[in-house]
Amino acid sequence: MTPPSASPKQAAPAPPAPSPTPARTSRPAKREGQRLSNGAFAFLLTVPGLALFAAIVFYPLVASLVTGFFDQDLRLPGRTFVGLDNYADVLDRDFWPVLENTLVFTVGATLAPFAVGFALALALNTGLKGSGFLRGLFLFPWVIPGVVVSFLWMWIFNANYGVLNGALLELGFIDESVSWLGEPTTAMVAVIVTKTWASFPWMMVMMLAGLQTVPRELHEAAAVDGAGAVRRFRAVTWPGVRGVAAIVLLLEFIWNFQHFDTIYVLTGGGPAGATETFAVAVYQDAFKGFDLGHAAALGGLWMLLLLVLVGVYLKTSEREDKHS
């Protein structure tokens, strides 16, 4: 009999869990030469990792939040306690526009790659010839470094020599070159397109993995019953991948909510703050404006929003876990 606490096996071909073993119980083993209980041994294994986390993630995070209550300059030692002044200031000035930019970017850069990636996964899942090769080929944009992605699209969007302007002019879609990264609206679209290019492959891989868990027989049975493609998608495909889709969308949303590289390199938050998201604004405040207190207050509010998202994510992934 398998104890209820047996770990969920990941790989399908894993052998059935054997009967409870000494390693699995948390009671101290009685054998000689083992001074530590299994529980203590298990905890000891996590100590190096936890120490790192505590020093490099947990402490800085808490300290950053504390900094939000001080007036502090990056270049100068010392700081003054100012209570909630920074927060009041942030809420008064940049929180709302930055939140709006962040939401526009995050929603756009989550839904667009999902649509592209899912469409591609559906196409590849029909058993096209060479779909394995195609899957590998389409992974490239996701693999290459974020900074390189930004350079590439900066060049494509270039107002004077960019290939996008060139192509659109040749095809007659526009009459004169557009300064894609220089106008507030097009800059945001450009940033979202760039991020879409970089992350649709991940969506494709995940959705493909989800699609492969949908039994082909179900499709065939539905087809025999006369269900059309749309009907089959709604009745068979979507219910089968809904769980994966939820997790993937949520994760991508969380990542985009704190995305930095592409935006910073492409536009630096400009023009006129049009693409300034939380990540960029906090970075600029701290390392360009040297106003640590202000940056930390803005970052604190940002963190609060992220924590809500992470909480939703953990709940969802646990629920999906129980389903599978």
Binding site: G39, T46, I144
Partner: protein, 313 residues
Amino acid sequence: MTTAQFTTADGASPKAPSAGPPGTPAGSRQAPRKPRRRPDQVRSSVAAWAAVGVIGLFGLLPMYWMLVTALSPPGQAFRFPPRFFPTEITFAHFRAFAENDKLFDYMVNSVIVAGVTALLSVVVSTYMGYSFSKFRYRGRKSLMNFVLASQMFPQALLLITLYAVFRQFDLLGTYTALILSFTTFTMPLCVWMLKGIFDTVPDALLEAAAIDGASRWRTLHSIVAPLAAPGMVAAGLFAFVRGWNDFIFALTLSGDDTMTLPPGLVNTYIGEFQTAWPALMAASLIVSVPVVVAFMFLQRYLVGGLTAGAVKS
């Protein structure tokens, strides 16, 4: 399906994939091997190819353009409207990258920092992943969730204090600062990947080792670790790639002598007036090569490894 349907399918769409090459008589030897498709399957395969084609333009053309620009002499790269097929090519920009001492130093820094990050991540994550996989104790689930959640903490916010902490300990601009900070965002992924791999190691093996008198350390190091070695290599490669690609930590915490390629390229090429685009595209290609090669090896771990941390637990 009846034979009649087969014939109809072929008659309705002579371009059905299962039809023999032009000129071959109907019912060629291919027929028995591959069942022919019904009309709606043909339609869906046409739709599938159309989707692949459109997304292919979006997904692959930019990379083609990167290559074309990298191979273009400046006169050609800045011609407008640009030429889709270049008329002359040059490898000068690749040579220039190789001959640039500064860029070479950035690359060495990248190799060192990403390499040590990968090693450290794997070692630390192996212990943690093993603990999560093979033991049951109070707080385990919370620890696992904390590790998973920690990769979602905002890096820009962490940096504010990390910068101060490293400055205080005089580590700003050192490899140590970069490696330690990189490890925190590579570890969550490594821990979850390795946990998944240890889950597939049968418990009976540990039991047998215990009966034979092996200590738990010995069991982990001499029996389990060698079994999990391919997974550890995969996790290490992932960590290497993440470290190689990182921009924000490297931009902020590195010094002139320890700067890695991503911020190094920004500093070198993004000029105030005119960016040297062909040279930058060549450099971009060179920077992408190690990552692309690493992922070719990682393909088969990709779905399993990534979904381990994301979709399942």
